[in-house]
């Protein structure tokens, strides 16, 4: 099987597998005895190393169970904190975010949050002008008097997890800072694939996950700036600044840090290589009948996304799976049903079969050759059904 779904989960790095296989048993890092202290040292080493890869301070790293938890903690935590301070403010959110964001804010809406939805263009790139206007507060332009109250929190992807298009994080972060609105960046799919320095982004919160860059599944982190006000989702022993109670996974954290360090070390070379391979794919498919490339030129280097008109997505995926290519349309729900992509729809495109081909460090030029041999026939067949 040739894996073209690294954006869902990229295989665990060899170094990480080795470290996992040879790991010594660890005590509870919260224990005060020497065994506990040893585990604590492993955990805090991991925190410092991960912080270094993220351009953040170790205190700012809250380990979580993954991207979804990080995003939920960021958005619910920030909104609740504002509500506690007497401000049941709005949430500024683009329409083409990941479901972890959409479902979390829609849940908050049922708790009384006002949602200010921001549109995207045909490349799924967020309208940063509308975003800035929606923030309210001091930065609101004269034209947007209708929503002058400052939002409680704003959120945006660093890059579209489906199309790969980079988002205007500079403009959005500047506007958020001017408006005094805490900004959360969803970097789950981008971390390890783009140079990203938390301190330089200007964001208050940033979500990342380990399995997107070759670490273990079930490990993630939320970067929480010192001045960010956040309520916890989990209550208990008060670990991690009281923001995430629960026994900490020192081994998982250390494997995440190891994977992140490796990803960062090879980032420049890998980005160039994968950019070249995805370029090849897009150049090859763009002229095929019914194929449209929606992503902007500024995109994640490892994602080649396109849509096929007049084809049934499930059939296209099946044909490629059967031919030995693991691909994705971008999203799947709990029952395993592929639903029409809300991101593609937000781009103004409907009735198409999206295909997200995502590459990784195990992808070879031969994999891409084989894919390009099989793809035209599969597309033609899926269109004929």
């Amino acid at each position: 099987m040739r894996l073209f779904d690294h954006a869902a989960a990229t295989p665990m790095r060899e170094s990480v597998r080795q470290a996992l296989a040879t790991a010594e048993p660890l005590a509870n890092p919260a224990s005060t005895h020497r065994e506990g202290q040893r585990a604590r040292a492993v955990l805090e080493d991991a925190r410092e190393r991960l912080a270094a890869t993220l351009g953040a301070h170790p205190t700012e790293i809250i380990f979580t169970s993954g991207g979804t938890e990080s995003i939920n903690l960021a958005l619910k935590g920030a909104w609740w904190a504002a509500a506690d301070a007497g401000r049941r403010g709005a949430i500024v959110v683009p329409v083409a975010e990941h479901h972890a964001t959409l479902d979390a804010v829609e849940w908050l809406e049922r708790q009384g949050a006002e949602l200010r939805w921001i549109g995207v263009d045909g490349h799924a790139v967020t309208d940063h002008g509308a975003f800035a206007d929606a923030l309210g507060g001091t930065a609101a332009s004269a034209a947007s008097s209708s929503s002058s109250a400052a939002a409680a929190v704003a959120t945006m992807l660093v890059a579209s997890n489906e199309l790969g298009s980079l988002q205007p994080i500079g403009a959005v972060a500047d506007a958020s800072a001017r408006a005094g609105v805490p900004l959360h960046l969803d970097a789950v799919g981008a971390f390890g694939h783009l140079p990203l320095r938390f301190a330089e982004t200007g964001a208050s919160l940033m979500s990342v996950a380990s399995h997107k860059l070759g670490g273990p599944h079930g490990v993630g982190a939320l970067v929480v700036r010192r001045d960010a006000r956040l309520e916890a989702l989990h209550h208990g022993g008060g670990q991690q600044r009281g923001l995430r109670s629960g026994t900490q996974d020192a081994l998982g954290a250390s494997l995440f840090a190891l994977a992140a360090e490796e990803a960062l070390a090879e980032l420049d070379a890998e980005s160039a290589r994968l950019r070249g391979l995805t370029e090849r794919i897009l150049t090859a498919v763009a002229p095929l009948p019914g194929v449209r490339v929606l992503a902007s030129d500024d995109r994640l280097p490892h994602i080649a996304h396109f849509v096929v008109e007049g084809a049934q997505g499930e059939s296209l995926q099946f044909l490629l799976d059967e031919a030995g290519f693991a691909v994705s349309n971008g999203s799947a729900c709990s029952a395993g049903v592929s639903r029409e992509s809300h991101v593609v729809r937000a781009c103004g495109v409907t009735g198409v079969a999206p295909l997200r081909l995502s590459l990784g460090r195990t992808t070879t030029a031969a994999d891409v050759d084989a894919l390009l041999d099989a793809l035209p026939a599969a597309i033609e067949r899926a269109r004929a059904l």
């Binding site: 499930e314 059939s315 029952a335 395993g336 049903v337 639903r339």
Partner: protein
């Protein structure tokens, strides 16, 4: 062969898929997501489209070591089955959604996709038997004589040998809900449970194979009405549309909130202000949406001797003698007993005269024709003729086998006893 096993998450389709694997075929499992808003967990024995059902199917596929996919047919299902169900009730007919789902979803939408993706057969857990023609067998007379029947697409010679039969276990036999399949569809079907003596054996086999769903209850109800409240479901979609309840002479005897809440043969749920002359209970004889009327009458008036319709399908090659008249058995519900009858084509209409009158026959139902264990096909009932009316209307002709084409719809019959022709 390369076969696609449709896996509902129930016991039958699980064992069917397992048998296909055992037979050495290349099997791929697929679960159809039919609900637009699937529930998470099953409740009781109802429903069959929850996330839990998809998971049950997936776990069987895991055990069998076959690839497994969930395909979203919810749009098609909504349009072709749910909306059709509502529309049919609105038109005063009584549809069978399971039959419709087989016709439009499992053996059309899914089968078409399967064939397009290179599969030879679709495997399901239905209790029915398909006999495929052996190569070298001569095509039956119908093809050679070139008889063409109305409502029949001429199928290829290689398809004409396909026959649909009842399952070995008559108690579980599901040939009725498959009666609507065409030769072309049947040629691509495989029902591995056909010859299983009892459902108990299927459960035992599932348990032996280590399937956790071995003791999962059967689903009985309409899957898209999980609480079983069909009337409430229809009322929600069709609203209230009050009208009169009249007797057979047209006298108003009560009122109702909407004809869609009623089915022929129903007794309860009617507010009748005027008692029947003889004080005996009255039943719904006819649902007339155009005038928003329900016709009620005594139980005897429910007895129907003649069924007819033009929406005909032949499960295999059309029987060569059907055009002239043929003694058959007819079954009007999934779990009804078949009764002896005579069937013949009159113009483009298939007319069936039951030897003994039938009760509880509503337009919209499918009448499935049997010759022994073989399913000849089905007709969707467009009109019925009551037993007593047929006798009075066709005074010169008995309800037996000698009714001529002309007599089948005499003016007298139309005036007196024909129902459901609107």
């Amino acid at each position: 062969m390369k076969v696609l096993a449709a896996m509902s998450g129930g016991v039958d389709s699980a064992v069917a898929a397992a048998r296909a694997v055992d037979a050495g075929h290349e099997v791929v499992g697929v679960h159809l997501a039919l609900s637009r808003m699937p529930g998470t967990l099953r409740t009781g024995s109802r429903g069959c489209c929850t996330v839990e059902d998809a998971m049950d199917a997936r776990r069987v596929a895991d055990k069998l070591g076959i690839p497994f996919y969930v395909w979203d047919f919810s749009e098609r299902f909504h349009a072709d089955v749910v909306q059709d169900f509502v529309d049919e009730y609105a038109a005063g007919r009584t549809p069978n959604p399971c039959l419709r789902c087989n016709e439009k979803i499992k053996f059309e939408a899914l089968l078409d996709r399967a064939i397009g993706l290179g599969f030879d057969r679709v495997v399901t857990g239905h209790y029915a038997r398909v006999e495929h023609a052996q190569s070298g067998v001569e095509p039956p007379a119908v093809e050679r004589s070139g008889v063409e029947l109305p409502g029949v697409e001429r199928s290829g010679v290689e398809r004409s040998g396909v026959e649909l039969h009842r399952a070995a276990d008559w108690a579980k036999d599901q040939s009725y809900v498959l009666g609507v399949l065409t030769a072309e569809q049947l040629a691509h079907c495989w029902f591995p449970l056909a010859s299983t003596p009892t459902k108990a054996e299927v459960r035992a086999e599932a348990a032996e194979r280590g399937f956790l769903l071995a003791q999962k209850p059967d689903s009985h109800d309409i899957c898209f009405i999980p609480d079983g409240d069909t009337r409430g479901f229809l009322a929600e979609r069709l609203g209230s549309d009050p009208g009169e309840i009249v007797d057979r002479d047209g006298a108003v005897v009560g009122s109702h909130d909407g004809v869609h809440g009623y089915t022929v043969g129903q007794r309860r749920g009617m507010s009748l202000g005027v008692p029947s002359p003889d004080g005996r209970p009255r039943f719904v004889l006819e649902v007339k949406p155009s005038t928003r009327q329900l016709v009620v009458g005594p139980k005897e008036a429910l007895a129907v001797s003649r069924l007819a319709g033009t929406r005909i399908s032949h499960a295999g090659a059309p029987h060569p003698r059907l055009s002239d008249g043929l003694d058959i058995e007819v079954q009007i519900r999934a779990h009804a007993d078949p009764v002896p009858a005579h069937a013949r084509m009159v113009g483009d209409e298939l007319v069936i005269d039951a030897v003994e009158p039938l009760t509880g026959v509503a337009t919209g139902q499918s009448a499935v024709l049997y010759l022994g264990t073989r399913v000849l096909g089905q007709v969707t009932i467009d009109r019925t003729v009551a037993a007593d009316e047929l006798v009075t209307a066709d005074a010169s002709v008995s309800a037996g086998t000698s009714v001529s084409a002309d007599a089948s719809a005499t003016p007298g019959e139309r005036a007196a006893g024909m129902r459901g022709a609107e």
